[in-house]
């Protein structure tokens, strides 16, 4: 079947040096980088398609991309480490919000195939993992060809535009992800819907905050609409940071209106289901933070 279709060429380098040699050998065509393949292969029209002229570089066997390292300040993961391994290895040290995000992503069977690098570089939809890593100030190492191979560290937020579209040099390889080891007083993550099968109905929210006796002293909040992008801005952070706790009903309804309006103006109009889900998640978060503060103050 489909015998007339040519099969793409597959390159399977075993280390970064041979990866560089392959990339340098195809200066005119941009090779297609293959990590776990979970997103690419879940496209409905993935196969059959004529990819005869495509040069695929599978990153699976590159040893350096499977390493992970940890010290007192940060954990560093190679791009090909499956997200399930990150949750297992970092159970005791990584921020709880990151573990919650990973554990809410698909099921363990699928998580064992999703790589951290791949989930940050998705094109068809945005993942909650990338938004959670953004508010945790994660950094990524990019390797790109410019006469010779360069590598440079970037804040994760800098590799996306304001709506979450990936903006890295063509053919660049995201090789490492560095996550600071720090815990916050308050961490909240909720996701609703399935971003792969129904991106227009799915959404998520992540918040990290430092609490003081009567208010929030520091907060970072991000909303993810998989089919549209991220909504992440200092203005929203400042709005949450100024909150007095517990949040009163009138303050809550003002805040909810402002946040929804902000998402509509700065991202795009969410679908009716996304809007209802975002409101529900936001409401649950305020309720949760109020409960926590009331418990602390007795």
């Amino acid at each position: 079947m489909y015998a007339e279709l040519r099969s793409p060429n597959i390159h399977e380098p075993e280390n970064l040096t041979s990866y560089t040699n392959i990339i340098q050998g195809y200066k005119d065509t941009v090779p297609f980088l293959w990590a776990g393949g979970t997103e690419i292969m879940s496209e409905e029209d993935f196969y059959p398609a004529d990819r005869g002229s495509l040069e695929v570089v599978s990153l699976t066997r590159i040893e350096e991309l499977h390493h992970f390292l940890r010290n007192d300040r940060y954990a560093e993961f190679g791009a090909m480490v499956p997200i399930n391994d990150i949750a297992q290895a970092g159970k005791l040290v990584l921020p709880r919000i990151l573990l919650d995000t990973i554990n809410s992503t698909a099921t363990r069977t699928v998580r064992e195939r999703i790589t951290i690098g791949g989930s940050l570089c998705t094109k068809r939809f945005k993942t909650s993992l990338s938004s959670t890593l953004m508010i945790l100030d994660a950094a990524v190492e990019l390797r790109y060809l410019k006469k010779r191979m360069h590598s440079k560290w970037f804040q994760l937020s800098r590799i996306y535009d304001k709506n979450g579209r990936l903006e890295i040099p063509q053919g660049a390889l995201l090789s490492k992800v560095r996550i600071a080891i720090q815990q916050y007083d308050y961490q909240y993550f909720r996701a609703a819907g399935n971003p792969m099968s129904d991106p227009s109905g799915a959404c998520s929210m992540a918040l990290v905050a430092r609490l003081e006796q009567s208010g929030i002293s520091y907060a970072r909040i991000i909303f993810t609409l998989p089919d549209k992008g991220f909504c992440y801005n200092r203005e929203l952070d400042n709005l949450i940071s100024g909150l007095h706790l517990p949040v009163s009903i009138s303050a809550y309804s003002q805040l909810e209106d402002y946040v929804m309006e902000y998402i509509k103006n700065n991202l795009t109009q969410p679908s009716a289901l996304q809007e209802a889900r975002l409101k529900g998640i936001f409401h649950d978060m305020i309720k949760d933070i109020n409960e926590k503060v009331l418990c602390l103050t007795g």
Partner: protein, 165 residues
Amino acid sequence: MRIELTVDGKYLALSVSSDKPLNLLLQEDLETRSLTDCCNCAHCGKCIVLLDGKAVLSCLVPSFEVRGRNVVTFDGFSKTRDYRDIEKAYSSMQAWPCDGCYAARTLLIESIVRRYESGSSDLDEEEVLQEAMLVSCPCMDYDSFLKVVKESLMNRRKRKNVRRA
């Protein structure tokens, strides 16, 4: 592209398109009977096979990635003693999946049982309930799935004489 792999214990050398998904390779090139029902796009969960002993959605695995690896489909697995542990659990719990998802669910349960059969860690019920969602067929409720997994695990440990710490 020429790939060599082992399917249900048989060593095979095939010439296929390098990006062909494993489920299509098994259906079209090897005529695997247990994979006829799946939707081919990662949403139904009916294309589960064991790849080196771990459950995978075969529609998410390209042919070039299975070179030199060991694939077990339900057709092969149903002839093993491990299958009897799960079959016994279905019957003692009086919970049977429908014909459409029987193969996928059984291989998924086998993969979960292999993770925990050594007895070194406790069964994570939340994880098992999440795994149950992988197969989208509504024929079996999550609670029954969890009970079958527990019973299968018990059968396996009993048969292999695994003593828990």
